[in-house]
């Protein structure tokens, strides 16, 4: 048990680090563009001192560009802040679709780097689970990462949800799958530790081009007040 807790703690730190590194990288990119716009303002100001006319349109353009980047950095910081708060409670009720959307948003830069297109089909009705939110996000990210890594050709990943709200499930399928990937899914000690902690299992889909994360039927899933922190996809 203690061994599992160690694995969980290490994997949790790794996941937090990875998401934070990606988010801060994006903030740095926004800051770099802001910094260059400020530099351009200084260049234009120096030129104006030497008698070159200063165009109000150009100043307006620069101001809009800076504003866009400030908003972008603010969006990333909000995501990061919300992500940090997923560690607040040991267990809470979570809406699966909203959690998947949040993880997709949080990791959007990492997914873009792999040039994978992710399509999400919402569930017919909300699917609720009671889990530790941080490790739920961690497991969903591991599933997204596995699906992205297994996708070949057009690199498309489809995410859908099971229809039985008493036994929630999330399904990941790939348009084209790399050879042999489906034979070795989620076998690492980290995967096993998180799945045991969240009480979920893995199943291949019938077409053998994807897999599902399945929650057991016996658990009662009810909505709590703390649900609703998630944002809608898109």
């Amino acid at each position: 048990m203690a061994k599992d807790e160690n694995i969980l703690a290490q994997e949790g730190m790794r996941f937090f680090g990875r998401m934070s590194a990606s988010a801060t990288h994006e903030i740095k990119n926004a800051l770099a563009t802001i910094s260059e716009n400020v530099g351009l303002m200084e260049d234009l100001s120096m030129m104006a001192e030497k008698g070159h006319p200063l165009s109000p349109e150009r100043i307006n353009d620069i101001s809009q560009r800076v504003n866009r980047q400030v908003q972008r950095a603010d969006r990333v910081l909000r995501k990061l802040n919300r992500f940090s708060h997923s560690l607040d409670l040991s267990t809470e009720s979570a809406d699966l679709e909203k959690t998947v959307c949040f993880v997709l948003d949080l990791a959007s830069r990492l997914i873009d780097m792999q040039e994978v297109t992710v399509e999400l089909t919402p569930p017919v009705s909300p699917l609720m689970v009671v889990n530790n939110l941080f490790y739920l996000e961690n497991m969903i990210w591991r599933a997204i990462e596995t699906a992205c890594g297994a996708a070949e050709g057009e690199k498309q990943v489809m995410i859908s949800f099971g229809t039985d709200s008493a036994a929630p499930s999330i399904w990941f399928s790939m348009e084209t799958v790399k050879d042999n990937v489906m034979n070795d899914l989620f076998g690492s000690k980290e995967d096993r530790a998180i799945m045991a902690y969240l009480d979920i299992s893995i199943e291949k889909n019938i077409e053998n081009n994807g897999f599902g994360l399945l929650w057991p039927r016996h658990k009662r899933y009810k909505e709590k007040d703390n649900v609703g922190k998630s944002i809608a996809c898109g």
Partner: protein
């Protein structure tokens, strides 16, 4: 003569503002939004320096660096990155990166590095030309 620079970054707004500033300083700037695009551009054109983001979708900075150096060993590549670890910097330098700058970069420092890259490239090209002439003379002579 102005410096001819290829700027490679997947951040469109960063490309726009950087090329605007570089052009204000009299540099001749071409932009590419991916390493693949950059590779196809260097097939047709020559540059004094390539300024390239280290982390881009598709081919990453290290792969791109290897591919460019493989095609045009004389090209001077200055890498830009959000975060530079010592390990990555050393690895990139071993492969042949000329320099490494962290974003947000000091524009004056970058402009200086571009000038230096141009001078270094001229030395390499001169040396290559000298080697070629020597080779031709050797073959003619003997």
């Amino acid at each position: 003569m102005s410096e001819k620079v290829l700027l490679v970054d997947d951040e469109k707004e960063f490309l726009e503002i950087m090329s605007e500033r570089m052009e204000e300083r009299g540099m001749e700037v071409t932009t590419a939004e991916s390493a693949d695009q950059a590779l196809s551009i260097i097939e047709k054109e020559s540059f004094d320096a390539i300024i390239m983001d280290f982390q881009m979708p598709g081919m990453d900075g290290m792969e791109a660096l290897k591919a460019i150096k493989n095609k045009k060993p004389e090209l001077q590549i200055i890498l830009l990155t959000g975060y530079a670890t010592v390990e990555k910097t050393v690895e990139a330098m071993k492969i042949g990166a000329t320099d490494f700058l962290e974003k947000p970069a000091d524009f004056e420092a970058l402009a200086e590095k571009i000038k230096k890259a141009k001078a270094d490239k001229m030395l390499i090209v001169e040396k290559q030309t000298e080697e070629k002439i020597k080779d031709i003379l050797k073959r003619l002579g003997g």
